[in-house]
Symmetry: none
Subunit: 245 residues, 2 copies
DNA sequence: AGGGCTATGTAACAACCGGTAACGGCGCTG
DNA sequence: CAGCGCCGTTACCGGTTGTTACATAGCCCT
């Protein structure tokens, strides 16, 4: 990658100078900016890879600027603040900052953050490394594959055990397709080391299904989502909508 | 740039111990194995980058084992033997060994061979690079390998003990790759080799993991960084960005 | 409809696994 | 020598998961 251009936005001239200099020593093209006008000038004029934005700009509110910039351009932003309280941090994220760092900061820390954000940005633009998290939705339930989180229609988080989660994952990936116990066992890697038949694996799957039902079916006795296909196995009989993220 | 895993196969406990220790000092994850069964356990379980195989195993014939392994898996093998006769060397090559070294061997020589075979296999040459100072960043944390410093997302320095630091280092070098307790122990050089199972090493790793968690996890009860892989071991499940320095 | 067979649901149990508090040994430092 | 921090061991607890046994439901045949 070419030398990254970093906009250093801070109303304190001394801070600007210091940060700018430090970044330059570390190979970046640092562009100091004292006001939002300065920022816009640079954004209009040319390429900017990252904005280091101080939360407290004399007259202007950095958070607002951040939100505004975010809504207009897709430039990574790291918020900088003298306030390290957690809620500040959260606010920073809410307005769309990519990261947050407290002042006074450790140079190593700053550099690490900058590089992290830059490489993240680069990665997202190259199709190769895209790591997509999927979210599945069915009958009001939401299953976030990455975090392994399951939310009930009421929005309450349900904790599934590892096995239950794996089962759900398998099912969700094959909606409306009847799966035999053997297939499920294979997907869950249950077999054990003695190449057991599905029967020897035995009722493990049945029991597991029961346990999952007890957690995600409104009335486990009359399952609507995880249905039994008698003589065959089980079907996930809900429509699933998938969202990449 | 993962740390290479080297299986040290020798029926003589003292030799195993010595070689293992030497390799560990030079940055490898050395896994001692006394029998073919041990070898298979490791091969089944996980990735092994290289096997150092003694020709004379008490009951078994190392050459046969070598041939057998070769026919099954594509793992580089270096044969080790007390007999330096040429025909032995030839035999070693015939059964598929990548290199051959006579006992007693010069440590430097061993290391050279190991590196050669590893790089031929286009594996990491981290045996060499490992001395580089690196800074790792994950979830806002910064770990400076040279100074052994760890900074929290808030920029506060956290003091880890020697062991905790070593554990972190091992994990950070293998993000998203589940490590067994045994592998971790090997990397930390915990047991030496007394033919102990991972169980004999006992809960040391578990406890250590717990201690590290209590320092770097926001909520140690629900670890986001250092996750448990039930029945397997532990995974460092954060994206890590690395900077050479 | 009813008998008999098989498939499935599930409660109870036991084995196993991982988290962790507590303890004690060890080495270092003052 | 006392105090302290580090670290492996142990024991206990709680959660997970496969097994078993028994109850029930579904299906086929007469």
């Amino acid at each position: 990658m070419t030398i990254p251009r970093i906009l250093v936005v801070d109303d304190d001239q001394d801070v600007r100078q210091m940060v700018t200099q430090f970044l330059r020593q570390n190979g970046a093209m640092a562009l100091p900016a004292g006001t939002e006008a300065d920022v816009r000038k640079h954004l209009d004029g040319g390429r900017v890879d990252l904005i280091l934005l101080d939360v407290m700009l004399g007259d202007e509110n950095g958070l607002e600027i951040c939100a505004r910039l975010r809504s207009e351009q897709d430039v990574p932003i790291i918020m900088v603040s003298a306030l390290s309280a957690d809620h500040q941090r959260m606010e920073g994220y809410e307005v769309g900052a990519d990261d947050y760092i407290a002042k006074p900061f450790n140079p190593d820390l700053l550099l690490a953050r900058v590089k992290a954000v830059l490489s993240r940005a680069r990665r997202s633009s190259s199709l190769v490394h895209r790591r997509n998290t999927k979210t599945f939705e069915f009958h009001g339930w939401v299953y976030n594959a990455k975090r392994g989180e399951v939310l009930s229609p009421a929005g309450i988080q349900v904790t599934l055990s590892r096995r239950e989660l794996a089962l759900l994952q398998t099912l969700v990936a094959n909606p409306h397709i009847p799966l035999t116990r053997e297939e499920i066992a294979a997907a869950l890697d249950v077999t054990g080391d003695t190449g057991q038949t599905a029967d020897a694996t035995g009722r493990a799957i049945d029991v597991l299904v029961g346990r999952l039902r007890s957690k995600i079916e409104k009335n486990p006795k009359d399952p609507q989502i995880l249905r039994t296909e008698r003589g065959v196995g089980y079907v996930f009989s809900a429509d699933v909508t998938v969202q990449d993220q």
